[in-house]
Amino acid sequence: MTPAQASSPAAVHVRARGWGWRHGGRKAFAARGLDLDIRPGERVLLLGASGAGKSTVLSGLAGLLGTGDEGEQEGELLLDGAHPAEARGRAGLVLQDPETQVVLARVGDEVAFAAENLSVPREEIWRRVGRALDDVGLDLPLDHPTTALSGGQKQRLALASVLAMEPGLLLLDEPTANLDPEGILEVRDAVVRVLERTGATLVVVEHRVAVWADVVDRVVVLDAGGGVLADGPPGTVLAEGPTRDRLAAAGVWVPGWQPDVGGPLPAGGGEALLSASGLTVARTKRGPAAVEDLGIEVRAAGALSITGPNGAGKSTAALTLGALLRPRAGRLEASAALAGTADGNPFRWRSSELVQRIGTVFQEPEHQFLTATVGDELEFGPRRVSGAPDLRRVTDVAERLRLTHLLKANPFTLSGGEKRRLSVATMLATAPRILILDEPTFGQDAGTWAELVTLLRELIDDGVSVLSVTHDADFIAALGGATLHISGGAGRLVTR
């Protein structure tokens, strides 16, 4: 048990010997052959290709890997010589998704939750709550509703909640992958502050290495085949050389490197497809308007990026331009080039007419999966459009997005990158002139990022209009075109 009174708990020593874990019902080990020693107070960035078992190692360290039919363990993994499950509270884990980490309705209760679970006495709990909120810089009343927090604030709250256990080992599993640039810095700085006060051991997993490279003093790279591929100070491991190249090839965002997707595209300037004037957009029928008096023209063979702070109404504007949400006021008109035989008002289109003209790729690919196999998923759109569809295009799209070997697989079982490719492919199957994407590069590794950017550039070259909601400056630069910056309920067009 944790001594509840210890105000500054000793940092944890981590030791792994030939450690491995296989999830119940799976044949392959998720992690294997791990030999590792992490000294108390060390700050470690854990890297590796997706599937190398980074999250499994963190779960193991957090004592979350069960027993019995949940899986099989080999070797040993110890925190200060004890099995992690028996060292409850010694390790605190913060996960990726801000939304599913909040347990309770009020900020103070949320932080207290972890301490309650460790049977900390009441007075001590509230003392810890105050200090933990202080540590992460959340200056909010204790009864502040947790639903009213931004993504970055939620992650800092999750961190505070973990701190209330006074852990000697802090585990962070892609804590900033779902955040906008501002949120990323917020969380990173909070972690640094916490480590300075507590001196706890840190193990962080993150694709975007640049965020953490200056904070950690050691980088450990897991080999997809098991064991450790590289281990050393960030300057050494990430320096030019074979390790850095292998990391980049595995999709890790090593600092100062960016996938090569080719030079700037020629300035777009195709025919107008869609024009909006005086458009006021709102997410719900009765709710407040998100953006007012939007005027914009969407042209063929060009890119348009919608940027702005979180919650400014970027997605709402994109969904309205995609003819999915009805505008509160103003007009959206399709040119003859886009509408063809259909009505000039996109909101009069039947859904089968819509998919041939505008494709919208949602942020969560699973929201758009409709069938039980990848093949059916790709054919779904064309079959909506015509009873006897030309399936050659489907084959082409599958080929182009490297989905051919997955045609029989269930869409939900694909990896994150594959799901993203499939969601784009399903839209391309009906050859829309306009492709709208909501945060297409969020949380993607460098490999998927490069693939997606290359594809979109080809599409633009083919005359498609690509409209994206994004925070990703590199992505915007790679696609070129115009930028619509939305903030404070208004949109401002920036043309390069």
Partner: protein, 202 residues
């Protein structure tokens, strides 16, 4: 039922509820509560229809019972059907139900109807037949309790008719739909922490 024999199989090794059992059971109940709320919005015509001939409401009642059967089929632990149904009832109360505190009692009774069937098979069988029987059990429990608590003044023939409708609805909506949902969920891989997801041959 070639595919059902694959799902027929194993139960979890321990009867103890793990944290993931509790949270997933709770969220299934919540999701079913939300769904039922959404469905009611989609089929407002039905309430008019049943207003014309009230026993017809029995045909719709299976929707209330999905939480019990689906929760039981996925969690596979004693008490899962009752727990899910009671919590789903609580969510319906929260979203604005017409029946106040009594939904909780109804939830217990309907949950017991499904739970008894799972118990009868000693929490070992989870095939289509068991799912349909659990739906039937919940439907009958619903009909009997509604007939006593609300429809008490109806004449016997109408109570009987209501019972038959509720039984059919329990079998089809709660039993069949839940079983199909369980099978579909197993194929998506989201049930990998559960016996229901691991034993499915997908």
């Amino acid at each position: 039922m070639a595919s059902s024999t694959a799902l027929n199989g194993t139960s979890p090794r321990t009867r103890q509820w793990r944290v993931v059992d509790i949270v997933v059971a709770s969220v299934i109940a919540v999701a079913v509560g939300v769904l039922f709320f959404a469905w009611s919005a989609g089929y407002s015509g039905i309430s008019l229809l049943t207003a014309g001939f009230p026993p017809l409401a029995g045909l719709y009642s299976g929707g209330w019972l999905i939480a019990a059967v689906l929760g039981g089929l996925i969690i596979r632990k004693p008490g899962a059907a009752i727990y899910c149904e009671v919590l789903a009832a609580a969510v319906e109360a929260l979203l604005g139900s017409h029946f106040g505190m009594t939904v909780l009692l109804s939830g217990v009774i309907q949950g017991i109807g499904a739970e008894l069937v799972f118990l009868l098979f000693l929490y070992r069988k989870w095939n289509l037949t068991v799912a349909l029987l659990a739906g039937l059990g919940a439907g009958l429990a619903l009909a009997i309790s509604e007939n006593i608590l609300y429809n008490a003044l109806w004449t016997f023939e109408f109570k009987l008719l209501y019972t038959v409708f509720a039984a059919i609805s329990g079998i089809v909506i709660a039993g069949l739909l839940s079983w199909l949902a369980m099978r579909g969920l197993a194929k998506t891989g989201v049930l990998s922490s559960f016996a229901a997801g691991r034993t499915a041959d997908v």
